[in-house]
């Protein structure tokens, strides 16, 4: 007897009990449907895969090394196979991909590429079935009859859990992310309002030029015969090179409206990632867009990213927040601590946040922290007040070049020591008042100039060839790196173009890739007979930062800063070691 029959029967002459039965049947129908609905099953599978929680709510349990039990989060597939299911290489351990195409696909051309693990042309086993997958998980023997790695736990899941996990795996990274087609990848960059036109133009010029050059060299699979340059052998055989298209997403108005604007841009043109970008104020709405739409936000040039980065964003550093932490730690550790620090800043998003960060960082240090907001037309008054400070006072200027310039011409010598933010000034070439230069200090989150010149060989070479104007070296060098590193990472992903995988590779490999690139550049210099300069002990970086490093769950690649001063010749001299707050 089904629900229909009961209802029809009731419409005639129903007793309350009949209606109760109808209600019960309908509700039961819905409940059963809900419990086994595809969405529900997938969610159960996701919980097993990502959290190590079974349908029963109990922890997933696995046996490793035949006697070591692992459970819960530590047993979860994600901890070795990652969100994308693409696995990775750690030490000597090669963790296999377990995404849909690799487990169940028939695509023999699929491959994974890792410079440390040799190029591997995968899918060497027949496609798994529901049964053979369950068997493999239970016995640790794959469907080629080969034992899995000793670290892979054995899992004995019940029918419901196995069905849920299998359903989850069958859709895991089973298609390219939005913005990817067989021949093209779509990207966007984001320009926030309020950025100096010459700086946003500098970012766009680098993006457009480097991408155009990449495209000029790219020959998509249909025209393989006309290839004009060597790509990796894997790309050549598999024809996975694609052309890139860049869209410029300019934001307008109040930050509260930005996320909606981005959603609209994305609806009209889905993109694989947001590459670079620039903002003088908040970046939170862009990060929220990326988090919500699962789009990687790739190394923007921003002075103050959100402190909590989320999964989909990777940044060069925490910007001025690092500077605040470093300066506080430095001043606190000095034997001749200043009596008082006056912070001068603009009443804007960055100014207000960094002043608060710095004040908090010095709580309990015994150093008095005061704040002064810079107002237009009040520069003279401010300077007069600063004149009255004692020698053991410190003034920290959280100011951009335009604001410093307004002080520069009217500034008189200071007794107090002045500190400046290299981040906000765009490096050491900012307009520091002449009479202050001999005692001025900079909080300097970059590599020191001589070593940095070596790091940026490739960037400078490109610069000269393209006759580009140097407007803001840090931002331009950052943008250049963003494209280069993205290009390298994507080429190694071959046909596995999933947003999660892009970020996993970036997080795991940025450190080692930088070292490989730096060593290559050094070798080239050696071949060309270019003499070795003073700062050439390190082969770790191709950027303005001493080293970039990330990891699972990490989003800020550079974590510290130097304190530097200017010597008589205007040259930068380190006053401290690299400080990490």
């Amino acid at each position: 007897m089904n629900t229909e029959h009961v209802v029809i029967r009731c419409l005639g002459r129903c007793k309350p009990f009949d209606w109760l039965m109808v209600f019960a049947l309908v509700t039961a129908g819905f409940t059963v449907h809900a419990a086994t609905s595809p969405a529900n099953v997938l969610e159960k599978g996701r919980q097993i895969y990502q959290e190590g929680v079974l349908s029963s709510g109990k922890p997933l349990v696995g046996m490793r090394l035949d006697k070591v039990k692992v459970e819960g989060a530590q047993a979860a597939c994600v901890s070795c196979h990652y969100h994308s299911g693409m696995g990775s290489v750690e030490g000597n351990l090669q963790i296999q991909p377990i995404s849909a195409r690799f487990l169940f696909g028939e695509d023999k051309a699929l491959a994974v590429m890792d410079v440390r693990g040799d190029k591997r042309f995968n899918v060497t086993h027949p496609p798994y079935t529901d049964e053979s997958l369950a068997t493999t998980l239970r016995t640790g023997i794959n469907n080629n009859g080969v034992e899995l790695n000793v670290l892979m736990p054995h899992f004995d899941l019940n029918k419901e859990d196995m069905a849920a996990l299998t359903a989850y795996l069958r859709q895991l990274s089973n298609q390219w992310s939005p913005g990817v087609t067989a021949d093209k990848i779509q990207f966007a960059t984001v320009i926030a309002p309020g950025v100096e036109p010459e700086r946003s133009k500098a970012v766009l010029d680098i993006l457009e030029h480097t991408i155009a050059q990449k495209n000029a060299n790219t020959v998509p699979r249909k025209q393989v015969g006309r290839r004009r340059h060597m790509v990796s052998s894997a790309e050549m055989v598999l024809g996975t090179e694609r052309r890139w298209e860049l869209h410029v997403w300019e934001l307008q108005g109040h930050p509260d409206t930005w996320q909606k604007q981005l959603d609209k841009y994305y609806r009209e043109q889905p993109v694989f990632a947001i590459i670079s970008g620039i903002s003088n104020t908040t970046w939170q709405p862009v990060q929220s867009f990326c988090e919500h739409q699962h789009v990687p936000c790739w190394f923007p040039s921003v002075d103050l990213p959100p402190d909590n980065a989320g999964h989909y964003s990777v940044y060069f550093s925490k910007g001025v927040a690092v500077e605040a932490g470093v300066l506080a730690k430095y001043l606190h550790s000095k034997t001749d601590r200043p009596h008082r620090v006056i912070q001068v800043y603009r009443d804007d998003y960055v100014g207000n946040h960094v002043a608060k960060d710095f004040t908090n960082a010095l709580l309990g240090s015994g150093i008095k922290v005061e704040t002064r907001i810079l107002h237009d037309n009040k520069q003279q008054e401010l300077l007069k007040e600063l004149q009255g400070l004692a020698a053991n006072d410190v003034v920290m200027f959280w100011l951009r070049p335009a604001d410093l310039a307004s002080l520069k011409d009217i500034a008189q010598p200071l007794k107090a020591t002045s500190y400046f933010s290299a981040e906000l000034m765009g490096g050491e070439r900012g307009p520091i008042p002449e009479s202050w230069k001999s005692t001025a200090r900079l909080v300097y989150p970059y590599e020191l100039p001589e070593q940095r010149r070596e790091n940026l060989e490739l960037f400078y070479a490109w610069f000269m060839r393209n006759k580009t104007l140097l407007v803001d070296e840090p931002v331009q060098a950052e943008t250049f790196f963003a494209v280069e590193f993205l290009s390298k990472t994507i080429s190694e992903m071959l046909d596995n173009l999933y947003g999660d995988y892009l970020l996993e590779r970036a997080r795991n490999m940025i450190g080692s890739e930088e070292v490989v690139m730096a060593e290559e550049i050094a070798r080239e210099r050696g071949k060309q007979g270019i003499p070795v300069t003073a700062g050439s002990n390190k082969r770790e970086s191709t950027t303005i930062y001493p080293h970039l490093s990330l990891g699972n769950g990490q989003s800020f690649a550079s974590k510290g800063a130097y304190i530097v001063r200017l010597n008589d010749g205007g040259k930068l001299v380190a006053e401290s070691e690299w400080i990490v707050p």
Binding site: L65, Q74, V78, S79, G91, S549, G551, K559, V580
Partner: protein, 201 residues
């Protein structure tokens, strides 16, 4: 007995040739996994470097002093954001401290960060909590340079932290040789190695 026709044998030959070609590309996938609990044991006289590290309680400490308070030392290298190899190593430490029972108060478990710039003392405490690290199991961070110095001293430096291999070190007391255990071992293995080490001769 059925005779194999010519076309069939050609097909067989081609399949075999194809298999040979594929075999070259099979690479690491089908390598036999090492037998469970196979690890290599060796001994070495590593010199503990004279560096200051930052212990998980935030104190700046001399590594030499930390390792030389007379207690037997178990030592490994980890980093807080590692989700693959490090949890295995730390899990073994965790089970070992459990299985040692009262004996654990006599030993010093030491885990040194391969990613000190990210691994603040707070992050290390959080990491240790996942493995129920007791008071005798301390995690250490410091500067990038000092971490590299310590890794090199133990011949455990492999460049980027992602290149690290699973290695556990044991020393019965200051002045004695270090025992190096490369590979994956179970808590039982580790305890057996430890007992063999401190056995009176």
């Amino acid at each position: 007995m059925k005779n194999i026709s010519n076309s069939q044998s050609i097909r067989c030959l081609l399949l075999f040739a194809g298999w040979l070609v594929c075999g070259y590309t099979l690479g690491a996938n089908d390598k036999l996994a090492p037998a469970a609990s196979s690890y290599q044991r060796s001994e070495a006289a590593y010199e503990v470097p004279d560096v200051m590290l930052v212990r998980q309680d935030g104190k700046k400490v001399s590594l030499k002093k930390e390792l030389n308070d007379g207690r037997p030392v178990f030592l490994n290298f980890i980093y807080a954001s590692c989700t693959t190899l490090c949890p295995v190593l730390s899990h073994v430490f965790s089970k070992t401290q459990e299985q040692l029972g009262k004996e654990r108060d006599k030993v010093h478990l030491v885990s040194i960060s391969l990613d000190p710039e990210n691994d603040t003392p707070a992050k290390l405490i959080e990491y240790g909590k996942k493995f129920k690290a007791g008071a005798h199991w301390q995690h250490y961070t410091g500067t990038k340079q000092d971490s590299v110095t310590v890794q090199k001293a133990f011949d455990a430096y492999r460049g980027d932290k992602m290149n690290h291999t699973p290695t556990t070190f044991l020393r019965a007391s200051p002045g004695k040789a270090w025992v190096r255990l490369d590979g994956f071992l179970s808590p039982d293995d580790l305890i057996r190695e430890y007992h063999n080490l401190i056995k009176p001769e």
